[in-house]
Point group: C2
Chain length 236, copies 2
DNA sequence: CAGCATCCCGATTGATACTG
DNA sequence: CAGTATCAATCGGGATGCTG
């Protein structure tokens, strides 16, 4: 296994999860166990070879665990270990940084896990009056339950028993509305999204996610010669 | 340029800084600008080809900026842009995670930047009485000034004017004492470290860094069959 | 069909040498 | 000092094959 041979914690973290696709595999598992085939489906572009390799390595290093489900399911799933689960803050902080990139394509594919993590990251209660709601999110095959209470957001996998509302649509569409500034009504009219239930709860829910503005556009193409004088020498 | 074609912020972040060595280059620049040759020296194992590639890419994506120093220095340095500088929390969180790995080699090479970042990460004031001190760290060629005041730590590049104490030694040795539990006196006797100045300030300073304990040893080699019953099906 | 293993090929990396 | 050039080794991606 390749290594940076560096005692720095970050360098060692990259020994473990710095290989191509590794952190995306972890991202897909943050919300719960998945089967090999579902991982492959949720990571468009990964090859079966690479996925198998990454899962092996992540298992060997104690980030991921394989488990066979009890009968009658019988299938094998991959899940994060407790330590692997602690990568979630890392993933969210990296996501918060990358989301502000001027070169990010907001129209690219978005997995359900990607959307839910961005919800967790971008949630910001507005006025802190006691708004509470349970919203079921139907993202393709996957269902999630988002619960807002006391200015806290929780999103877990699985449908809700008695949701105040249900929102159904592709993750990318929902992201466009939640974090990309797209108009909800327009998305519904375009048949990209469908909603049911308490529409005022939906509106309040949607309004509680902050749009992360990209940093100032692409960097100036040419370096302006004398605008920023050298601040200091690289060495003493 | 290779991309995951994923709208998730984290995936895009990896498009930008996920290539091999990229984040280590950023780490080396977090404390201030550096020249090409110094980067190469501080990143043992990187090839000149890859370093040149990474710097090109990081410059194109607006993470790093090249600058020619004013005469008489005249040399070219690389420095983080404001946005690139915002990777520091990401690097620290990744470092905090990786530092707890059971497979991390604490005896490997450690760069001055790696040490200083781990200081910033692991600082935890103990009893909050008004301890204040200025300590100069001499790490090979590089000097840093660590200032503790009001339960806050600041470490900046450059020597101190009137430090309360001076500590000199290799970054790895200092890390062993600060975060690895090695005895200061023993390190001095072994001639790995030298100190000058207020020795009680040094002792108090050193005691304010928390040892991050590794997570429970290497994962169990064989999966115990029935110990953790399956929690749920991967799909509804 | 789930869960890989194999083979092939182009892209990336790393070691070394070389240049302005 | 600050890179570029070259080349072998490795890695990633795509297609396909295999096995229960």
């Amino acid at each position: 296994m390749r290594s940076y041979h560096d005692a720095c914690g970050m360098a060692h973290a990259l020994d473990l999860v710095g290989e191509r696709w590794a952190l995306l595999v972890v991202r897909e598992l943050v919300l719960g166990p998945k089967r090999y085939t579902d991982l492959r489906a949720d990571l468009p572009g990964i090859s079966t070879t690479v996925l198998a390799h990454r899962l092996d390595e992540l298992e060997q290093t104690g980030v991921v665990r394989r488990r066979r489900l009890a009968p009658p399911a019988g299938s094998t799933v991959y899940e994060l270990t407790d330590w692997g689960q602690e990568l979630e803050p890392v993933i969210r902080q990296l996501g918060r940084w990358g989301a502000r990139s001027p070169t990010r394509r907001r129209d690219a594919h978005l997995s359900a896990a990607g959307l839910v993590l961005s919800l967790r990251t971008n949630y910001q209660p507005d006025g802190s009056d006691g708004f509470a709601a349970t919203i079921e999110l139907r993202l393709g095959e996957d269902r999630f339950t988002a619960t807002v209470r006391d200015g806290q957001l929780a999103v877990v996998r699985g449908g809700a028993d008695e949701p105040d509302a249900v929102i159904e649509g592709a993750p990318g569409v929902l992201a466009g509305v939640l974090c990309g500034g797209r108009c909800l009504r327009e998305a519904i009219l375009a048949n990209d999204l469908s909603v049911r239930g308490d529409s005022s709860a939906i509106r309040r829910f949607l309004s509680q996610f902050s749009l992360s503005e990209p940093v100032s556009g692409p960097p100036p193409p040419i370096d302006s010669p004398e605008k920023t004088p050298p601040r200091r020498l690289p060495r003493e």
